[in-house]
């Protein structure tokens, strides 16, 4: 007999081994429950990570813009306004006021990683007879490529943006029959016109974006939209994406600008995530409950089956506490072992599903996130659930009258 393990542990293991069929069935039940939890949690974490990666590598964490212009009603006398209807003024393209100062201030903030100025506006792209309106963004490639990973979306050409270069979407290029190295005319709303060389084609995986995206150097955009020395927005990335909103508020409070964080601009994504988390939590709770009831049922039957053994142990001097321990340990062991088997099953299913589930373009549907803390937390939770579920049978065993138990 093991000389290290306390007697309660030995008895618990022997009882589990002795009723091996019962043990196997309940282990199977627990394992399936835990596998569902692990599989779902890992898949949701993967999908969430995928979504975050997509969202956060294709847009700035914070975008700093000039504040909206508002019309102020003219009072004819104190408290009396001359006009009944106040029209919202049209928002002409304006530069961010004192943008270098705002950029320096943002860059000096602790959590800010990258700051990049942009000048954007609409333009008309023409090549021969074909013309398409585009959304033109003038960027500083060195910093902008750190905010939006344009090179990752490049399917042809080079991510080069000198003052004579332009990067355009693949669908746009196809529509106007342009190729890498070809020339296109860009005409801004102001009437300014430049001839630029296509250096690369971008595929964002979205037809709308591919039809309208055009990136040029900041200076080129500034001269086209008639805003030399000015910029229309500042893109900011932060180190901890969840601090974006706080930092945005700080910037907006300290400068006469509007600062929108990705959290605010992706509110729908957040509500979807919250719904997912709530659903997942609900599933965990119900699976946890069914596991707990399963363990409790098996142990209650075990107490009844082993009432003679319990009576004998009591007659031999076993304390009530020791008998409680025997059953609590059984519950904990069932939960722990079941969770390990379940975690292995869940992760195995995840790997299999990951290899099967593909997007339309053949890319993975979600990244494989094998988080060891997920397995550890599943094991801890299942063990706790096991011990709690065993509480009632354990108390029942401890309270058993030895005379009645032995008599059977």
């Amino acid at each position: 007999m093991n000389r290290i393990a306390p007697i309660a542990w030995i008895m618990a293991l022997r009882f589990l081994k002795d009723g091996r069929l019962q043990t196997l069935f309940i282990l199977g039940g627990i394992a399936i429950g835990v596998a569902v939890i692990v599989f779902m949690s890992a898949m949701l974490a993967g999908l969430e990570q995928n979504f975050l990666r997509r969202v956060l590598t294709s847009q700035a964490h914070i975008q700093i813009l000039p504040p909206d212009q508002v019309a102020r009603p003219l009072p004819s006398a104190a408290g009396v306004f001359a006009d009944q209807i106040i029209q919202r003024p049209s928002q002409r393209i304006r530069s961010v006021d004192q943008w270098q100062k705002v950029m320096d201030a943002a860059r000096s903030m602790e959590d800010v990683a990258v700051v990049s100025p942009n000048a954007s506006g609409s333009a008309l792209l023409t090549r021969g007879e074909a013309s398409r309106s585009v959304s033109m963004t003038g960027v500083v490639p060195e910093t902008y490529f750190l905010v939006v990973r344009l090179p990752d979306y490049l399917v042809e050409g080079q991510p080069r943006l000198s003052s004579e270069d332009i990067l355009i979407g693949t669908d746009l290029a196809r529509d106007i029959g342009a190729v890498v190295g070809g020339k296109v005319n860009v005409t801004a709303a102001s009437g300014a016109r430049r001839t630029l060389t296509i250096t690369g084609l971008l595929d964002f995986g979205n037809k709308g974006a591919n039809m309208r995206a055009a990136f040029v150097a900041l200076r080129t955009a500034q001269s086209l939209i008639g805003m030399v020395g000015g910029i229309t927005s500042i893109d900011v990335t932060v180190r901890d994406i969840y601090t974006a909103e706080t930092i945005a508020r700080r910037i907006a409070a300290e400068h006469p600008v509007q600062a929108d964080s990705w959290i605010k601009t992706n509110a729908q994504f957040f509500s979807a995530m919250r719904a997912q988390i709530a659903t997942n939590t609900l599933i965990r709770v119900f699976v946890g409950l069914s596991v707990a009831f399963g363990i409790a049922a098996v142990l209650i039957v075990s107490v009844i089956q082993r009432s003679k053994d319990i009576g004998i142990l009591r007659a031999m001097g076993a304390r009530r506490g020791q008998l409680m321990q025997v059953f609590l340990i059984q519950g904990g062991l069932l939960g722990f072992a079941g969770s390990l088997i379940g975690a292995a099953m869940g992760l195995g299913a995840l790997v299999y599903w990951h290899s099967l589930a593909r997007q339309a373009d053949g890319k993975e549907l979600f990244p494989l996130v094998l988080d060891p803390t997920l397995v550890a937390s599943a094991a801890v939770m299942a063990t706790i659930v096991g011990v709690l579920a065993a509480a009632m049978p354990a108390v029942r065993a401890a309270r058993l009258d030895p005379v009645v138990a032995i008599r059977g």
Binding site: D309, A315, M316, G317
Partner: protein, 227 residues
Amino acid sequence: MTEEIIRLEAVTKSYNIGMTSEIEVLHGIDLTINRGDFVALMGPSGSGKSTLLNIIGLLDKPTSGRLAIHGQDTGTLDDAAVTRLRGHTIGFVFQYHMLISALTAAENVMMPILVDKGRSNAAIEAKARSLLDQVGLSAVADNLAPNMSGGQQQRVAIARALAMDPDLVLADEPTGNLDSKSADDVFELMRRVNARGGASFLIVTHNLALAQRCDRIVEVVDGRLKA
């Protein structure tokens, strides 16, 4: 001088107290068991033998009267103290051996010591094997309980009852479920242990021949000791 182990004074036992079905099964029992005694407890079925045995074994409490072990009144002890006193003073042998089926013979014998000490060690294992040797079962020490014959199981139960070097072994029809040869072996074994200066024995039996081989016969009839 004889050393008193158990003393019962005016012990009664009633069931369903306060109800219309209240019934008193033991009426004023006085009994003393001294060190070295080898006592047979006889009586017809339903006379109260098992109840008396349970009270002496601290598995049950008397409704009134006094039970003293080594002169100490047990009525004032709490459950933990009673459990401890039972474990250290009294060994049990039941009619149906009552071995724990999930354990081997040696482990069954070790169990009373293990529940007291908490975990196993070499000395405990050696003692269990020595006790099995005394009951002639060295060869099956590592067999699981269900893989032994009835006589072997009952001898393991006796070895188990002796594990804590108890002052008194209570045996409830220990030979009742055995053939005559095995019954004789088991009885002789208990006799030998007793003769070696070990535990005192109180043996419930219906077998008059066996009872007559005991030092003393105590008879319970309708809940009273027959003089």
